[in-house]
Structures are given as C-alpha cells and as structure tokens.
Amino acid sequence: MKAPAFAYARPASLGEVFTLLAQHGDGARLLAGGQSLLATLNLRLSAPDILIDITGLPGMAGITIEKDTLRIGALATHRELEHSHAISHHLPLLAQAVPHVAHIAIRNVGTFGGSIAMADPAAEYPAVCVALDAQFVIAGAKGERRVAAREFFKGMYETALRPGEVLVAGEFRIRPEGYRSAFIELARRHGDYAIVGLAAQANCSDGKYSDVSLAFLGAGGEPVLARATAAALEGKAFGADTIALAQAALAKELDPPADLYSSSATKLHLARVITGRALATLATLAAAT
C-alpha cells in the first residue's frame, strides 16, 4: 500500500525540531532512516500529519570516544556501526549484533537512534544497550537529560521519551580488560525478526564467570535482563555443570510470551539453548587469549 498524505519538514537545527514538535504534538513523527516508520506508514498502521526529517541535523551522527566513554550519534547508520573499528574494538558485543539487523539495503539507511526510539521487542540494539548498561542522551526544549538503557525501555514500542523530546546519542562505557561477549540470535531467515536472541557479556578472567549481563530480545515487551541467572553464575568456573545451572536458573526467571510462530515453551527452550551456546562461546574466547 501507499502511505497516507503527510507534510514534510527538514529542519536544520534541534531548536526548529522542538518548535515543530510543540506545534504538531501527537501529529508529528520524527523521520531518521525511516526503515521501520515508512513501512508502518505504507501499511497504514500510522497516519501522522507531518514527518520531521532529522537527518540534516548537525552533530547527531558519528561515533566518538572520549576517555572511557564511546558515544554513538542517533543518526549513525547500521552500516557505520558495522564498519567502525572503534566499535569492533571497544564494544564487540554491539559489533557482533549488527549483522543480525535486517538486510544490507536496510542497514545502509536505518539508524542506531531509530532502532532505540522504536523499541521493537525483537530488535537487537535495545538488548545490547541493556546488557552493556548504556546511557541514552535525550534532548528537549528545556535541555538535555540522560536515561539508563535499563530504565528506558518501558514495554512494546514504549520508552521513557517524553513528548517533544529527541534521542540524541547512546553512551557506552568502554569494555574493561578481561571481559568477553557473545551475541546469538535465532531467526527464521537471516535478518528477519528474531524468535529469541541473547546479548551476553561477562568478565571471564581466571576460568570463571563474573559480573555477568544476559539481556534477551524477543522474550518480552522490552529487553529482559536475566538478573537471577547472572547472579547464579557469579564466580562459577567454566564447564558443562555451570551451563546446566544457568539453564535451570533461566527456566525459573524467563517467561517469554508466544508469538505467531513459537509458543512460550518453545521460546524458553530456545533461550536456554542459546544461553548454553553463549556461555560456551565466552569460555572459548577467554581461553583463546
């Protein structure tokens, strides 16, 4: 189908964006890469009065490092993330996740900020940001504020963004020595929506897991941080027994809703399978260095 009619503006400053947002309220939608938004408009699931194209705004793209913080501008595309040495070096978990985002032609255009603000429960970046305990920089007419990723996602397509606000960037603490990460996703076809996926990071020094983060996608309305499972893994040595222990803990903690193709029980089973794979991968990576 074709999108319904709407007006289009391409402001050159954040100030103009805030004015337009104040003027149009709920009738306005921000357009970044548009790879989800335009599909939604074409399907007539949404009918805004005006699209505010923010791709011309200065200072919202790019990947920069300052001290121990890596900052990703909201307008950085999936492709830029995929080809960034800073990200593959300092945030390997994110680098491992990018190839799972849709397909080449969509990664060329879709943005980091768009994926975060959209908050699709099956999307990769929200889970990665939750696993890495990232901060989001949010701008509004009255100034900037920061919200932790672990507080940002409120449910299916719901976030802590307030009316009139714009997501400007994500900030990540650069991964310390000794940490290893794994991103594993199961999908029906490469690049499709995940059935279930896992963003995992842990300190893997001395043959043991500690400071473990396990964030699941496709397992709830928002990314699900498996805190009890992570706690059960604290200080445990690599090996089959530890993996079995984690899988048992996960069964008590995770209750994924069914989707069109997979029942809740199937998803839980798959989540346990990929948890085992992820923990084994972390151990292998630690042994290799």
């Binding site: 074709k2 999108a3 009619a5 289009y8 599909a39 009065d49 005006i50 032609a105 255009v109």
Partner: protein, 166 residues
C-alpha cells in the same frame, strides 16, 4: 500544509527536478513519473527487495525511501546500470545459469548482487546468501542465483590475479 516540494535528483546521471508530494515513494516516482519501470514494486514494506535501487552508491529499498529524501542526491536504477554495461557480466551469468524464471525479482537481485561484487570480492557462498537474504525469489530456489554470482566472483578474482602477474 501538504504542499508538494521541489526536488532535484540525479537519476542515472541526469538531473531531474519535479514538485513531489511528500508521501511519494522514491520507487513510485521513478516508475510513474520518470517511466523507469525496470525496478519493481513487490511488498511495499521493505521485505521483498524487488525495489532495490542505488542511492549515493549504496543499495536501498525504493519503497522505504521518500522521493523528497533523495533531494540533491544520486539515484541509479537497473536501467542506468544496464545501459552503462556495469551489470553485463552478472546479467550474462544469470542468463547462462538460469538464475531467473519469471524475472520479477531479477532487477533487485542484480542490484544486490552487483553490490556484493563491488564490496565483497572474496565472498564465500555463505556470504553470497547472506548478502541476497533481503531479496525474495519465488521461482529459482536461489541455488542458480548463488551459482551465477559465484561464477562472476571467480572470474573477477582470476582477472585480478592475471593483472597482478602481467
């Protein structure tokens, strides 16, 4: 408020300026306004890849791009890349390997294939499959398409080697 917007796009090397309604997809503009019907429209929500075109040298979905967003930018379609001869080798390989039947997906598939030939000259079969995973074909079962792309990759690699030795 819903005014048409003056937009200038360089299509296959030639600048065109039109007043365009913001809701117009780039693919509809190319097909309906400029008559470039080589690129096809399939699903219109970014899944099938039939509308794959190039925007500033990167492949994109023509159905997930507004024509007004292409203002001041370059668009290349199957017509332009066919006429320039850029696609000659991959078109020949598609023909020889029977990599198409009804042909509906072929223009988009060729754009995705050419993108791989340009950017991943050492791609494996697995990487070929990954690269075209955003393009649906309902006739071939993909095997012949992967074969065709692999043949051109191999030819190109042989060409590179002989250039080095010569």
């Amino acid at each position: 408020m819903n005014h048409d917007i003056e937009t200038t796009i360089t299509v296959n090397g030639k600048p065109v300026t039109r007043r365009i309604a913001p809701r117009t997809h780039l693919i509809d503009f190319l097909r309906d306004e400029l008559g470039l019907t080589g690129s096809h429209i399939g699903c219109e929500h970014g899944v099938c890849g039939a509308c794959t075109i190039r925007l500033d040298d990167k492949i994109v979905r023509g159905c997930l791009t507004l024509a007004v967003q292409a203002n001041g930018r370059r668009v290349d379609t199957i017509e332009g890349l066919s006429d320039s001869g850029e696609l000659a080798a991959i078109q020949k390989a598609f023909h020889e390997r029977n990599a198409l039947q009804c042909g509906f997906c072929t223009p988009g598939m060729l754009m995705a294939a050419q993108d791989l030939l340009l950017h991943k000259p050492d791609a494996t079969r697995e990487e070929i499959r990954e690269h075209i995973s955003g393009n649906y074909c309902r006739c071939t079962g993909y095997q012949a398409i992967v074969d065709a792309i692999e043949i051109v990759l191999t030819q190109n690699r042989a060409g590179r080697k002989s250039q080095v030795t010569a």
